[in-house]
Symmetry: C2
Subunit: 404 residues, 2 copies
């Protein structure tokens, strides 16, 4: 392992020239004791501005042109951040995806990273210069510009950290770290000093969107320790650790929740092989993300098939299910948009039983009705009424002593 | 010669999404009868916006970073213009300097073009697709981004036209063509249908800044016919022709003038070999452009040395001449900032005498005093009082029947 730290700064962290100046101070300070590589997002608002320019020429611009357009945001911020470092006497040099050969697939707007020229990056570092690399951008084998999708800069940073065998990847953002739950709902929610990769994956997939899920998967795969911290306030943030902490594991590390959800139930579906695929296949083809899929036990050869989707996909789902109705029979389609998901996450659940029953007991004592339950090894997800989410989170936060 | 036309659109031509849409119509229309390659500048205002962002980090940003920053303006406009063409059903594809290997020297902000990958451009054209190429940008042998300096997109267009052996290079701008003089001064100034390269060089070097001087030199060297025309109004513009039109040449083709000039006179200089170099060497080292250099005949081994510079260089010149005074002696330094230059340009002057005397007579009859005269084969330049410029231009425009 090298002694290099990769620092990634998101859009709000570099949202103005004053912010860029503050970020340059953070980098300068860190560079006094460590070798640093920086990955930077576009200034916040910049990408949206470019997207709205493109919209004048139709709703579906050519994806190659679209990526060439929006990737300029990162080129701008990397050059400006480099100038800010120069103004503080720090040696730095900006690099685009093309310049460090950040090779990706040619799936424009959702490109996947294939390779990075780590020699180029290392030769800059060896010259006592800090490379300031554009996040989000990629380049294909034929030299076309791609982007990794929204939030892709996190993935850029982790990929580079993996490639140069960095000691750690620090993701600077506008929050102080990962909390046991949303401090807006539970005032004594606590910042976690560390969290396991698996817990983070479950949390990031839910409401706790401080780091892109794909970046965490990448970090997990290549064993890159990641730290999430604030570029606005000092603090050590939350370390997303590689090691499973064993006996010390908290039963429950955090509580995530997600509003703006819709529960879709196909009531009285024929319970034959292939039914689930016939329902979920067309939905997946439409690139709609489905969560909490539950199929009840069959009664008289009929079953209920339920899943949740984001509210914004509600209309699309209706159309798709009308098509599905041509192929499979069901009695009723029930759509409930007044629901939300709440999840308890913790690697401690694995080795200790009783989390589920403790959860259900606490909610029942507080008159919160659970509509659907879905569990994994380290997560319990419940679908409840949307207007009971705040209460449920507060009750569970207290029950599992997350404020201690 | 191929049957390809290179079309270049400047910043005001693509200054808004509506303008980009109008330019796409021009391209689509031209593509019905010709093979087209497009070179595009940044949307007007975009480059200045980027420059002002950079200024937050000091007055002298690193030139490599500065070029990486400001070159994004062209990447944006080329992607947007390509989208606009797609929306009209025209096949097009954007290309950055890196993507077409627009190789330059590494003199950032003033890079010189070395080579272009014409095979890449030709393969796009052969695929019935219009290449939309970023002007102004270049790339060094090591992959660093450069820019060609302000107005460099004209040079990009002419260089590409030369490399692919294009039939013509059309420079679209916000004026209808080259006029006999500024229509704001002489209301019946006439648009010229054609002008020779040499005349254009003399005019572009003076006030008539519709096309970059370097681009004209490039066109002259590689024999690329250039046409200047408006992207706002229909019209055939002005053809900058390769051929000297011989007997048909107008005596005077146009009148250029330049205000904001300063006349600098070193009075009573020792007339010894090397004096001119001792004066002009340090000024040239400071990258100050000097024009209309005149040295009068020597009297008693002393002479007067006079030249003009732009008003913005006035302070710098004073400092330099103080230094020069350490090495050579002179009696007085006289600086006159209330002067202007007026030039008559025409290849016809070459073969016919009498232009000068006709000029001096007309000006004298109208009480315009000529302070300095400097002539070349196809140009007569006079320094006169600044507040007499309008009158002088009107008198000469009429005298040489340029309105006919």
């Amino acid at each position: 392992m090298s002694n290099i730290i990769v620092q990634k700064f998101g859009g709000t962290s570099v949202g103005s020239v004053e912010r860029i100046d503050a970020v340059a101070d953070i980098i300068k300070n860190a560079s006094l004791s460590e070798k640093i590589v920086v990955v930077v997002s576009a200034m916040s608002g910049e990408t949206n501005k470019l997207v709205s320019l493109a919209k004048h020429f139709g709703d579906n611009p050519d994806k190659r042109e679209f990526d060439a357009l929006v990737s300029t945001g990162e080129t701008i911020s990397s050059a400006l951040l480099t100038m800010a470092l120069h103004s503080k006497g720090v040696k730095a040099r900006s690099f685009s995806a093309t310049q460090i050969s950040m090779k990706t697939t040619s799936t424009y707007s959702k490109a996947k990273i294939l390779d990075v020229d780590s020699n180029k990056i290392m030769s800059v570092i060896e010259n006592d210069t800090i490379p300031i690399i554009t996040g989000f951008q990629g380049v294909t084998e034929t030299g076309d510009i791609t982007t990794l999708g929204r939030g892709g800069s996190d993935t850029t940073a982790v990929a580079i950290a993996a490639q140069i065998n960095a000691k750690r990847c620090d993701i600077y953002t506008d929050v102080d770290g990962i909390y046991t739950t949303d401090p807006k709902i539970v005032s004594n929610a606590k910042k976690l000093d560390s969290i396991t990769m698996e817990e983070m994956l479950e949390l990031a997939g839910q409401g706790a969107k401080v780091i892109q899920t794909r970046a965490v998967e990448f970090a997990n795969k290549y064993k890159v320790p990641v730290r999430v911290l604030s570029s606005f306030n000092e603090g050590s943030g939350t370390l997303i650790s590689l090691e499973d902490k064993g006996m010390e594991n908290a039963l429950v590390s955090g509580i995530a929740f997600q509003k703006n959800q819709v529960k879709v139930t196909l009531h009285g579906v024929e319970d034959t092989p292939g039914t689930a695929f016939k329902i979920l296949g067309p939905i997946s083809d439409a690139e709609i993300e489905v969560d909490v899929i539950v199929q009840n036990v069959s009664v008289d050869g009929k079953t209920d098939f339920t899943f949740t989707v984001s509210t914004e996909d509600q209309e699309a789902i209706k159309g798709i299910i009308e098509d599905i109705n041509q192929k499979i029979e069901f009695k009723d389609l029930i759509i409930d948009s007044e629901i939300a998901k709440v999840s308890l996450v913790g690697v401690g659940m694995r080795s200790q039983s009783g989390v589920a029953s403790k959860t259900f007991k606490a909610l029942s004592e507080n008159d919160v009705n659970i509509q659907i339950i879905s569990t994994s090894e380290i997560k319990i997800t419940m679908v409840i009424k949307e207007d009971e989410v705040d209460k449920a989170v507060q009750v569970l936060h207290k029950e599992f002593e997350l404020d201690k």
